[in-house]
């Protein structure tokens, strides 16, 4: 009889014991969860893409509820989601900036010189291993289209060997930014029409010898900008997107046309 009873008692006892310990532990170690976390989580898209920089939508919901992240931290959800979260959190959703990825290079097949002819795997990360890619300029877009492949929203086009982000399709998920071995894709506010599309930190003469559309560091844009929105560092001009008033003087004056103006948008209007 004990042959049967013993195992039943041991196994049942252990199971019961663990159950009791766990239920007591869950009371002792209970962590209070802010109800706002649940509400915010319900509004978020739930794609767990990680674009916000937090571990998944749960992580972001927690950060928003604790006030560690802004209500518009979810780029994918965009304005509609930000408004709903703002309602839950009881703050105003004004100044919700939409950002889009922008490739900061215009050195296409016609304008940028090549160091050698690359016949390898058509992947920027592989091309970059070989002497930093085939372009003479070590900062430029390699044009293999790795960013286009990772883009889930078909927002990236290859134009003459340079990646170009279609503003309206971009959700700022940051996938392309992560994958780009040259780190030349950046988030730029949607409203900003003018961007210095060059990342070259070479002196002007070198830029000139390698690429027809690079920033040569002449600082004409810096001098002419009415709103003082330019900073100049490492032979490269950069626009402070908050100060920029979209006047377009810089793009007009830029001798190499390294400053890109979103003219397509104007034409549409």
């Amino acid at each position: 009889m004990t042959d049967i009873l013993n195992p039943i008692v041991v196994l049942g006892g252990l199971g019961l014991g663990f159950g009791v310990i766990l239920s007591i532990a869950s009371n002792i170690f209970a962590v209070e969860v802010d109800p706002k976390i649940e509400e915010v989580r319900a509004v978020l898209p739930g794609a767990n893409c990680g674009a916000c920089g937090f571990p998944g939508c749960d992580g972001l919901a927690k950060a928003i509820a604790e006030g560690k992240a802004p209500v518009n931290a979810c780029n994918v959800g965009g304005n509609p989601v930000a408004e709903k979260i703002a309602d839950i959190m009881g703050v105003n959703a004004a100044n919700v900036d939409r950002k889009v990825a922008t490739v900061l290079c215009q050195g296409d097949c016609n304008k940028a010189k090549e160091k050698y002819i690359y016949h390898g795997i058509k992947d920027c990360r592989a091309a970059n291993i070989l002497q930093g890619g085939s372009k003479a300029c070590s900062f430029g877009c390699l044009g293999c289209g790795t960013c286009k492949e990772v883009c889930q929203f078909d927002a990236i086009e290859m134009r003459d060997g340079v990646a170009f982000v279609l503003k309206d399709k971009c959700t700022a998920c940051m996938k392309c930014i992560e994958v780009c071995p040259k780190k030349i894709i950046e988030l730029v506010p949607y409203e900003n029409e003018y961007v210095v599309k060059c990342m070259s930190k070479d002196p002007g003469k070198e830029v000139r010898s390698k690429c027809g559309i690079g920033c040569i560091g002449c600082q004409i844009c810096v001098k002419n900008c009415p709103s003082d929105a330019f900073t100049f560092e490492n032979f490269l001009a950069k626009i402070d997107y908050e100060k920029c008033i979209n006047c377009g003087v810089c793009a007009e004056k830029c001798p190499t046309k390294a400053i890109y103006g979103d003219t397509a948008k104007e034409a549409a209007v």
Binding site: V10, L11, G15, A25, F29, A30, I121, A126
Partner: protein, 190 residues
């Protein structure tokens, strides 16, 4: 066996993944990125060491005393599952940062056969408590090593020119096989 011999044996010679073929699921499942495989490795090390200490006491204190050795497998599974749940609860309260770092890997380990394998093999080998601890530490370090090596290779594989039919899991399985053969080279070290 001496303690250094146990460590070398479990990390290299009898590596749980590459020589004993336990824990293949996480080995293939979370070895895509270096970061995640390191996280998994840390979580496994933590749980394996803790669970083999507890199972050691349960084996000696309850099962051996009552002559119920045949209940070993089911009791150990029960212990591991309860332990992982308990650790998760405690960590959530006491150390949220560690809890976040281990993240989803902690509950995943409940059903990881490495954890059960180490606990059972410790008993089979007849180790005392100190050797049990070092054996489980060594095995989980070996597991972590295999996982991180695999992640390093797979990160490179991602941008390599692989024939269409071999893309994804086929090439990962071939790689795992080759790694296992390479680890055979450690045979006879201990």
């Amino acid at each position: 066996m001496s303690i250094p011999a146990i460590l070398i044996s479990t990390i290299f010679v009898n590596n749980y993944v590459l020589a004993r073929f336990l824990g293949i699921c996480p080995f293939l499942g979370v070895s895509n990125k270096m970061e995640t495989s390191a996280g998994m490795g840390v979580a496994v090390t933590f749980v394996v060491t803790l669970s083999s200490i507890i199972t050691y006491f349960i084996q000696k204190g309850i099962l051996d005393l009552l002559g119920l050795q045949y209940l070993q497998t089911i009791v150990f599974i029960l212990v591991i599952a309860a332990l992982v749940q308990f650790v998760e609860l405690v960590l959530k309260k006491i150390s949220p940062s560690l809890y976040n770092a281990l993240g989803v890997y902690l509950p995943l380990i409940t059903t990881n056969c490495v954890v059960l394998g180490v606990a059972i093999l410790n008993i089979q080998e007849g180790y005392d408590l100190v050797r049990t601890i070092f054996n489980s530490l060594g095995s989980s370090i070996g597991f972590t090593l295999a996982l991180i090596l695999m992640a390093g290779i797979r990160e490179k594989l991602e941008i390599a020119d692989i024939p269409e039919v071999l893309k994804g899991f086929p090439i990962a399985l071939i790689t795992a096989g080759l790694m296992s053969i390479a680890f055979l080279g450690f045979g006879g070290l201990v």
